[in-house]
């Protein structure tokens, strides 16, 4: 018998964890001498109070959907992909190459090309740790961490020495040509008669991210491959018995995961910056971990959690802009969310299980 009902597992526990994280965050705000209520108000109005705010919230959320899905897919195979950051960086390189060196006739084709190469680059970057895990038993957490650092060195080299336009001082690529610029939500919604802020960077990648959520859901819960991934994640010996190759599943899962992380670049690099800069990922790869944990590795959960984190990010940026609360507040909130929904999960779970168990005993 399960120790508690499913709804408690997927809704109640994350909710309580979230409340705990929020409460502690409020204490932190109080601790630095600010007013939590005012801070929340400002975050809400800054992130959700205007189409401009929404535009940024959704822009960040798009990033987090990709990286969150990347972590979630890997979680299903019990692989902890901490390398989303590096994979997204490499994805950015793929996007930049596609946008700069291919003369695209239309943004839609450019998007397809860039998405493909971004996914390929991200997947390639995940492939080595995956292979090492599958074939040589190297712990994938450590190798993906190492690959994050290596990725940033690679990008650094490429931007400083290879892709920086002549005469430019920034380690950044040239701007992408007009044809590779993606339509923003403003452009997309205008024909529908909805006016949306022109300045906000949310763009058509959001739709790609939502599509990715749906596809990942199909993959995990409806396909044979997803079945094998989940089976392998639950029991490695079971997978062996069923003739599911651990090597194959590890590789494929990580390729998908890395590909998803890499695809983030169509949003931040192609959709927003329209050039590749250093540190373009801004830690989104790590936020993916929090998003996947909060979302219980379910694409719909990831979608919601990504929006929540998009809100936190945009709200946090507003705080930094208009108050003296540093932007690092969101890093703290993020840490608390990871802590409570991930590492301290049992702190909430154990008493709840006891509660449900005694409730059931009382009933019978």
């Amino acid at each position: 018998m399960d120790k508690m009902p499913k709804w408690a597992d997927v809704v109640l526990i994350p909710l309580i964890s979230l409340i705990l994280a929020a409460a502690l965050s409020a204490l932190v705000i109080l601790g630095i001498g600010e007013d939590p209520v005012a801070a929340v108000k400002m975050m809400v109005s800054g992130a959700l109070g205007s189409t401009y705010g929404w535009g940024y919230t959704l822009y960040y959320a798009t990033n987090f959907m990709f990286t969150g899905l990347a972590v979630a897919v890997a979680f299903h195979a019990r692989l902890f992909n901490i390398g989303g950051e590096g994979q997204a960086m490499l994805g950015g390189l793929g996007v930049a190459l596609m946008c700069l060196y291919v003369p695209w006739p239309h943004w839609s084709l450019a998007l397809i090309g860039a998405t493909t190469l971004a996914a390929l680059f991200g997947a390639a970057w995940a492939m080595i740790p995956a292979w090492l895990q599958a074939k040589r038993g190297s712990h994938i957490v450590i190798t993906t961490i190492m690959f994050n650092f290596i990725a940033s060195a690679v990008l650094n080299y490429v931007l400083v020495n290879l892709m920086r336009p002549k005469g430019s001082m920034d380690p950044a690529t040239a701007r992408f040509p007009e044809a590779a610029h993606l339509p923003t939500l403003h452009d997309l919604l205008a024909p529908l008669g909805i006016s949306f802020s022109k300045a906000a960077p949310a763009n058509v990648s959001l739709l790609v991210a939502v599509a990715a959520c749906i596809l990942v859901w199909l993959l995990i819960w409806r396909t044979r491959l997803g079945y094998e991934i989940r089976a392998y994640g639950h029991s490695e010996t079971g997978a062996l018995y069923a003739g599911i190759s651990p090597v194959k599943i590890t590789m494929i899962t990580m390729l998908i995961s890395g590909g998803l992380a890499g695809m983030m670049a169509i949003n931040n690099v192609m959709g927003e910056a329209e050039r590749l800069v250093l540190n373009a990922t801004e830690g989104a790869g790590f936020i993916g971990i929090a998003v996947a944990l909060m979302g219980r590795s379910h694409p719909f959960g990831v979608f919601l959690a990504a929006i929540l984190f998009g809100f936190l990010y945009q709200g946090g940026a507003e705080l930094a802009l208009w108050t003296s609360i540093p932007r690092e507040l969101i890093v703290v909130i993020q840490a608390l969310v990871i802590l409570f929904t991930g590492a301290l999960d049992n702190m909430v779970r154990m008493p709840l299980e006891k509660l449900f168990l005694s409730l059931r005993r009382a009933r019978t």
Partner: protein, 511 residues
């Protein structure tokens, strides 16, 4: 005896693991200087009870008295202080440490290691003489055999000057000579006045060595009797709760064409140790070949190779085609495609995904079957229907395809696995420990299904550590010892004694 207080007395011990009530209000008394046996089916709660006595688990309710005094045992330290030592079913040794280091762990004197090690070396030498417990104190645990490891565990207890020694299924991993040696040691210890609790589910061991015996069933203590005043039949009945009839009605086999031929099969385990050392066997359609042996003699590996779970060398032909034993095409999928079905030894770790719904598990291993698939997608509705049919036919309770596998009882889990495999109508059925931890009713049912499959013309390779089961089901019996087959017997021309000798590596008259 009457005026001495019991060495151990447990009163009203209860323990639940989440929803599972492992021990229910158990009371027991063990007199000093005796060997007390505890028997019971798998999962009856024996290990749990003893682990509570040793402070490994904390009881939800109940009291412990040692030598008549009420004693709190919140942790193993308290148990050790009270003079209790325990040899666990699964040894608790640090594999990368030496014997000596394992012995002193937790019983060091002083903060520095050297003096402790020196003293332990001396004590070990004395104990070796006193109880015939020879081990190399400097050998690393992962480099000595299980028999030796068990000695280390016993030495650990004696080094801590235990007066009360608990042994949890000590003979499961031992060969008969090793087991005999162990019982001699236990005799010596009893003679020294030590008290011993022996958990086993082998009735013969109980009858041979214990003074008193308690029987557990489903978390409860059903009886405690003097060994001299009972019979194995009575104990068996107490154990399972009704009369045991370990015979299967089956017609004589009518072996048909050759299905499986194995030649010079060799298997290495993950540590590169050779576990199967050149096995030859063949199996015809319509017969059951039973492979007997003490656990750990290579029969699991044999089954795993045939089931595609590990690589091997040698030749295996199925219906005349050679099977690949390594690399691509040697996995479980290829085996299934070739017509082999496999009921694995460990249903929870191998045969089922415990978190999956029953209907998902019914596709497990067969998830590429076109009947369940459309393109890359799986057709869940078809699976649910199929599951409902199988559940009805095999009387799985509750018949709910959406229930997670972990929420079925052990017997019903096994029925799901057996249903899945038998219903494929394979040419060759591999069965490992089909009735481990399964109640008697389910045992009968599963045995019938296996025989029925044989009668339909399938070849069945049965691996079991239960001699009764081997004798009841097999048309031919092979005994495996140390990675080799010790020769074949026909069930009606042999008995447990002869098989026992073979299992111990004594090769008897013929080979």
């Amino acid at each position: 005896m009457s005026d001495t207080s019991p060495a151990i007395e447990l009163r009203g011990i209860s323990k639940a693991f989440g929803p599972v009530q492992a021990n229910k209000d158990i009371s027991i008394r063990v007199m000093p200087g005796t060997i007390h046996g505890i028997i019971g089916e798998n999962g009856a709660g024996k290990s749990t009870l003893m682990s509570i006595l040793y402070g490994f688990y904390k009881a939800d309710a109940g009291e412990v008295f040692i030598n008549g005094r009420k004693t709190e045992i919140p942790d193993s330290q308290a148990a050790i202080s009270a003079g209790i030592g325990m040899v666990f079913q699964h040894f608790k040794l640090v594999e990368t440490f030496t014997v000596l280091e394992n012995v002193i762990l937790g019983a060091e004197e002083g903060r520095l290691l050297r003096p402790s090690l020196a003293r332990a070396r001396k004590v070990l030498a004395e104990l070796a003489v006193e109880y015939e417990l020879n081990v190399d104190p400097d050998a690393r645990i992962d480099q000595i055999g299980v028999g030796m490891q068990q000695r280390v565990e016993i030495l650990k207890a004696l080094y801590r000057q235990a007066d009360i020694l608990i042994l949890d299924e000590p003979t499961g991993v031992l060969t008969p000579p090793e087991a005999d040696h162990l019982f001699r040691i236990l005799d010596n210890l009893r003679a020294e006045g030590k008290t011993i609790i022996l958990i086993t589910h082998k009735l013969r061991e109980i009858m041979d060595i214990t003074d008193t015996v308690s029987v557990m069933r489903r978390g409860e203590m059903t009886a405690t009797v003097k060994t001299a005043e009972t019979t194995p039949e009575e104990l068996a009945e107490l154990m399972v709760g009704r009369k045991v009839l370990l015979r299967v009605d089956k017609a004589p086999a009518t072996p048909g064409k050759m299905v499986l031929e194995v030649k010079n099969l060799r298997v290495r385990d993950d540590q590169r140790v050779e576990r199967v050392k050149g096995v030859d066997l063949n199996l015809r359609a319509g017969e059951i070949l039973g492979i007997a042996g003490v656990a750990g003699n290579g029969q699991s590996e044999l089954l795993e190779v045939l089931g595609g779970m590990r690589p091997a060398t040698g030749t295996v032909t199925l219906n005349g085609t050679t099977l690949k034993l390594e690399g691509r095409g040697s996995d479980g999928q290829s085996r299934r495609a070739a017509g082999i079905a496999h009921v694995p030894e460990d249903r929870q770790r191998e045969g089922l995904i415990m978190e999956f719904h029953a209907w998902e598990n019914v596709a497990f291993g067969y998830h590429h079957d076109p009947a369940f698939c459309r393109g890359p997608l799986m057709v869940n509705a078809a699976l649910v229907r199929d599951t409902e049919a199988k559940m009805e036919k095999f009387d799985v309770r509750p018949p709910d395809p959406a229930l997670a596998a972990k929420n079925f009882s052990g017997g019903n889990q096994q029925k799901i696995v057996v249903a899945r495999e038998i219903e494929r109508n394979p040419d060759l059925l591999l069965v490992g420990q089909p009735t481990r931890g399964v109640d008697i009713g389910a045992i009968e049912f599963i045995h019938k299904q296996i025989v029925a499959l044989r009668d339909q013309g399938a070849a069945v390779l049965l691996v079991s550590v239960e001699l009764d089961e081997i004798l009841a089901l097999s048309d031919r019996i092979a005994v495996m010892f140390d990675g080799r087959l010790m020769g074949e017997r026909l069930p009606d021309q042999t008995d447990e004694r002869e098989l026992g000798l073979l299992m111990a590596g004594v090769s008897g008259a013929a080979a």
